[in-house]
Point group: C2
Chain length 348, copies 2
Amino acid sequence: CTQPYTVFAAQKAPTTLDTSSFMAAPVTDLKTLEENPTDMKTKMELMIMRIQSEFCRALEAEEGDGGKFTVDKWVRHNASEGGGVTCVLQDGATFEKAGVNITVMAAPLSKELQASMRARGKSLPEDKKFTFFAAGVSSVIHPRNPHIPTIHFNYRYFEMQDEDGNNKHWWFGGGTDLTPYYLVEEDVRLFHGVLKSACDRHHPTHYTRFKKWCDDYFFVKFRGERRGVGGIFFDDLEDEDPEKVFGFVKDCAEAVIPSFLPLVQKHKDDAVSEAERRWQLLRRGRYVEFNLVYDRGTKFGFATPNARIESILMSLPLHARWEYMHQPAPGTPEHKITEVLKNPKDWL
Amino acid sequence: CTQPYTVFAAQKAPTTLDTSSFMAAPVTDLKTLEENPTDMKTKMELMIMRIQSEFCRALEAEEGDGGKFTVDKWVRHNASEGGGVTCVLQDGATFEKAGVNITVMAAPLSKELQASMRARGKSLPEDKKFTFFAAGVSSVIHPRNPHIPTIHFNYRYFEMQDEDGNNKHWWFGGGTDLTPYYLVEEDVRLFHGVLKSACDRHHPTHYTRFKKWCDDYFFVKFRGERRGVGGIFFDDLEDEDPEKVFGFVKDCAEAVIPSFLPLVQKHKDDAVSEAERRWQLLRRGRYVEFNLVYDRGTKFGFATPNARIESILMSLPLHARWEYMHQPAPGTPEHKITEVLKNPKDWL
């Protein structure tokens, strides 16, 4: 007799991927991921799905019953170009707004983007059409207590090749940076120390180089101040061996929890005065200024047709405040942090 | 005998200008203004000083004892290039944040600005150096009660000429626009009606043309919605007779109070629910998005070295809010206003 069950089982690729701990199913279908386990696209997608889930669970653990992440799995306007998973925890007990987003997309490279890639030094022949693949995790966490800093991180992988599968380019970018409202030097040292350890395991100059890059990038020119106390930032990272760079990026992404959670645990029950809350809201206004005026990812999103704007702007705080001519008095803790934003220092 | 008093009096120009009602002394010294009473630069500066003062006094009258404007007279980094008078009323009983700024500046035209002027159609010979003069009043009023709209207006005069005093160009620009949180059609009609009357006194198509220009300009592309219910907006306005254009701009500026104060008086004591306040804060977030991402005046300010950033950003609200994926339910008043922002309509 015929055995339809067996026939079906024989056609099915062996299921080796366990995605049960992820916030949602990966963007790419499981079969493609399972059939290409050594492809960097697969490795990156699975890594960022895991990082998203581990980070969201770690934050939820700090909330207790105070809040849970909502999970939105979305596809692009043209579904064949990919999509993402956006997790947001809003108005929680510990976190006022926490967003952790992953995006995986594959699309034709527009003329404009092709020109901008060329301007960045990628050699792309004029007569070829290119497709690009991008996979990244991006997160901004705005805690409720002003004694806990805001953290941002983003790790991403790009790949592009022409229609014949030639002229392939790939690179990684990313970073993690901290925006405290009050300066607690030992907290900043802990944060930078964890990032430095991750860097040092891969290259002796990574930390110094990427720390400076971070200070330079997160700069609000019209204010003459940095967004926060920095961290690491890099782009266009490549190597003869892609696995090497992937290993570094994975280490950086895995350093987020140990660099940040201790600060949450240390300060989440700190007493907060009205003046401290007000200062936090003023600084969140500055965060909005950086993100809307300077942030490259945000501007790229604004310029992308049919971008999912809610996933891009999940980085904005629940509340922000702008006071005309606010100047903290010299000698106050509020003044102390602004000095460091104007003159970045070495923490280690 | 010698009479030093008489000698001194004879040297002094006759004082004909009464600036006592202004918020501060004009930016240009009185002698220059008095000696050039028919110069458009003088006429514009005195007009915007008067408009600033009349508007600030009218707003203060609505505050009662609730708030007063602070007045900051400032000069540019290079004081010979001019300066301004910034008036801000913050955290008042009726107005949460009200800013009324005048700027008067005269400076060499940078290469970049010269190129951008050329791109806008001004014929500026390449081999000449130009100086430009700009005088304008700019204001954003964020009332406390969500049933009173936010209003913005800006009226400005530009002049430029080459080093020999030739190749002179001049033009006026400006507009007034309204951003309600809740749609009260008769309020919007009153507002547009006052603007239309001012326009109709000068040209039969001004209102229609400048109403459309306003709808097109105050557009947040990535949201697919306008900032508010429009008003009028124009730029590069010129005529054989400068006095004609000045008369129109003056009429528009004088229309601000009658277009807005009735709405303040009507709604300032309206009952406000927590949900209405929250909606107001969310919409103020959208206001921030337009101003930081799209507004040409703000972007021009960010790009100007040593710009007085506090005068530029006085337009930002005291509070703003961003919620992930906030969508008002169909049929609610909150939904009703968003429909009008997506599809601007004719109010008259």
